[in-house]
Symmetry: C2
Amino acid sequence: MKASKIGEIDFAKGNGLVPVVTQEARTGKVLMLAYANKEAVEATMKTKRATYWSRSRNELWIKGDTSGHVQKVRRVLVDCDNDTLLYMVDQVGPACHTGKHSCFFSKLDSEE
Amino acid sequence: MKASKIGEIDFAKGNGLVPVVTQEARTGKVLMLAYANKEAVEATMKTKRATYWSRSRNELWIKGDTSGHVQKVRRVLVDCDNDTLLYMVDQVGPACHTGKHSCFFSKLDSEE
């Protein structure tokens, strides 16, 4: 597998942020989508705890710091355009603030 | 499973676009991340072919229309904030323009 460096990630395109898809390593479930700046990615790589940038609170967001629902990061993948990340994690408790395991628990209806 | 309507999707937050995570239904692999506007989501629901909004070409992007590498959509999920979608698809050929099956083929190094 190709290896990428943090310096290669294109943060500029998203005004300093890249979207991060978070997938549960054990089940393959997509748990959530959040955003990370360079500081968050560096913290994630260093601590192996999924860290994001909270756009609503405008601060570094160490997932689970308040709830205890931490994400242990097994590996981080970068996409072909270097502008999206994929965190492969072991999820402790639910990932979603609603108490659901994944944030994707609603099915889109075909009808408007 | 909860059901959502297209009208409930929060396109405003992303200036008319929401990020879309695309996952292969059969394997659970995350294939790519792209963006959709309301028109793209409506086309996806109607045709069951994954449709996005190309930010580089600034036009509707019916995945595979040029390459033949179409994505048949089994279902579309909406996240808890109504601002991210998950397309569950059957992928024909590779999803990535590089010829790789998934766009996430590079591992982020811990070292800078």
